[in-house]
């Protein structure tokens, strides 16, 4: 039976971040945390492989204790178990330290046949963790995976879709897959699944449970420094139309025609 680990991350729901009308700053307070939307495709792909080939699927995340919620969500969808890497000693990690810590977690669980990740997380947009993770584990990595074609004799064949090209590519297992948005249609949990998962326990691993070099985790192991976070300046100007609906529609049509959009 295949062994699959799927990586998930709890992120702030950036679609609900509001702009302060006065300062134009992002209001982040009270923004709910969600499963990174890209990871939903990773979870779904793991579950589809499980249904097709038979597999045990473990969801793995690193984060504060409340990150347990995303593991429970994954378990509600059908993932067999959840593992949380949680320790103050992991905090402040960039992608390199994060991927290193995750690799130590994966070694502790046991390197599976396939590690599936979402393309990237919506809070950082770096897409670096999957490839770095493969390096730490010294295994192959396929990125931009848009279709898994077959798994046979220790090899996985997949389609990788980039901006201007498509590759049919195979990799020796174990391997890391970073899957694209749209590779599948992520399922939604049923009420009964959510009720069941609320009783399931996750395993929590702390820094002392893992065999790792403490200089390579948290801030100490992070060569990246964020100098400044700012909202990009928009040079597009909106226009609010006045008048009756018919007049407004007429105006919209006129503008669209001017720009040869219709």
């Amino acid at each position: 039976m295949l062994k699959i680990i799927v990586l998930v991350k709890q992120v702030p729901n950036t679609t609900q971040v509001k702009i302060d009308p006065e300062t134009n700053n992002l209001v982040r307070e009270g923004i709910p945390s969600i499963v990174n939307p890209f990871d939903l495709y990773a979870i779904e792909e793991a579950l589809l492989l499980k249904e097709k080939f038979g597999a045990s699927v473990t969801a793995l995340t690193m984060g504060p204790p409340q990150a347990r919620e995303v593991l429970k969500y994954a378990m509600a969808l059908g993932v067999d178990q959840g593992v949380l890497l949680s320790d103050r000693a992991f905090a402040g990690a960039d992608t390199l330290a994060t991927s290193y810590t995750l690799s130590a977690g994966i070694k502790k669980i046991g390197i599976p046949d396939i590690v599936i990740c979402g393309k990237m997380a919506i809070d950082g947009d770096t897409a670096q963790v999957p490839v770095e993770l493969a390096e730490h584990l010294n295994i192959g990595c396929l990125t931009n995976v848009s279709q898994v074609l077959e798994i046979k004799t220790g090899k996985l064949k997949a389609v990788s879709t980039m901006d201007f090209s498509q590759l049919k590519i195979s990799v020796k297992l174990p391997a890391v897959l970073a899957v694209n948005k749209g590779i599948n249609e992520p399922r939604l949990p049923m009420l009964k699944d959510m009720a069941r998962a609320s009783h399931m326990k996750c395993n929590t691993l702390t820094v002392n449970d893992l065999n790792l070099d403490k200089n390579r985790i948290s801030i100490a192991g992070s060569p990246t420094w964020v100098v400044k976070v700012f909202a990009p300046e928009s040079n597009r100007k909106g226009r609010i139309l006045e008048g009756s609906i018919d007049k407004q529609v007429e105006e919209v049509l006129k503008v669209l025609k001017e720009h040869e959009a219709v």
Partner: protein, 396 residues
Amino acid sequence: MTKTAEIVIIGAGSTGSSIAYHLAKKGVKDIVVLEKLGIGSGATGHAAGLIRHHYPSRELVKMAKYCSKKLENFQEEMDFDIDHVKNGFCYLTSENGNSFVDMVAMQRSEGVDVEILEPKEVENLHPKGPINTEGIGYGLLDYDAAYADPYKVAVGYVEKAKHLGADVRIGVVVKDIIEEKGKVTKVVTNKGDFSTRLVINAAGIGAVDINKMLNIDMPLKYMSLGHGVLIPDVEFDPNILTINDGSSENFLFFLRPESGGTVLIGMDQDDSNREIVPESYYMDVPFDKFGKFYEYLIKRLPFAKKFKIQTTFGALDLRTPDWNPAIGYLDNGPEGYYLAIGGSGHCFKLAPVMGKVIAESILNETTSFDFSIFDVNRLNKFSDDSFSGSFFVNEK
């Protein structure tokens, strides 16, 4: 530049926009409505939209009855579709039906079509499957209950108010209210000042901040409800009745049809250990707590166990200790400062009457309803620690 306005209304939720419409309809000119984010963007836009009648006091029942008719005829009267659906509503409680005989008699005397159901009748009430009646003392069926889109109600009022001459401004943040010799004189905003003799605070959850500008402190508290949009595995007609289970102390919920064949649920959250950030209406719906909620819900309504959870969101309200809104001028407050706040989760369904009686009271007319139970000055007798109960239980 300072503009002049007869009346400045702060907030374009269902309350503020209804007040604007009713005042404009009575011929008041120079009404300015100032809205920080968007029409109905606060509690209104996140409300459940339930319209029903079974309140414990006669005054409230009268008002609820009036509102229910007004909302039913909203499209005709206001020329604006609010997605009104009459579907009926059943409240489930652990208490014995006998304790509510008088209340039901009073509601019937006001023309409310309401019935007490025995557990056996409750069991077969829902068209999608039996209701588990364990722990249910009785059900109270409100035949004429309905639901509608609260956001559209606010927009409907705003559109009509604008048509009647009201000046509704979006993206305007009130920074200060100036008081001179015990009278309000000016509203200071990020988009200019408005000199006026009358300011109506209808700012919903922002009302506390507006009060602070005049150093007014009242016993008010934020409360939040968790909501979920579900995709049923069976066809779910829009006119299937709403179930509101108030029988458990820990898990209070409602379940009603929503547009597009989906289902809306609302869950009471105990926020005693959570810090609420009023600046953000979007509250977290924590899994650990709601997993147990879902478990309770499908035990009560087994037909829902395969319903899929499409999304969850929170709603924030400002509540008073007795769950009634706080309306009127303060006895010891500045002249020209009128409050229409503390909706406590009720004010969407009361929007038509709120606008009506507030407009009448501001214009010193005889009010169509006795709304003394909403008198803002009653809050003096409460202290900050007099809050108790939960939304659904106290709503009965």
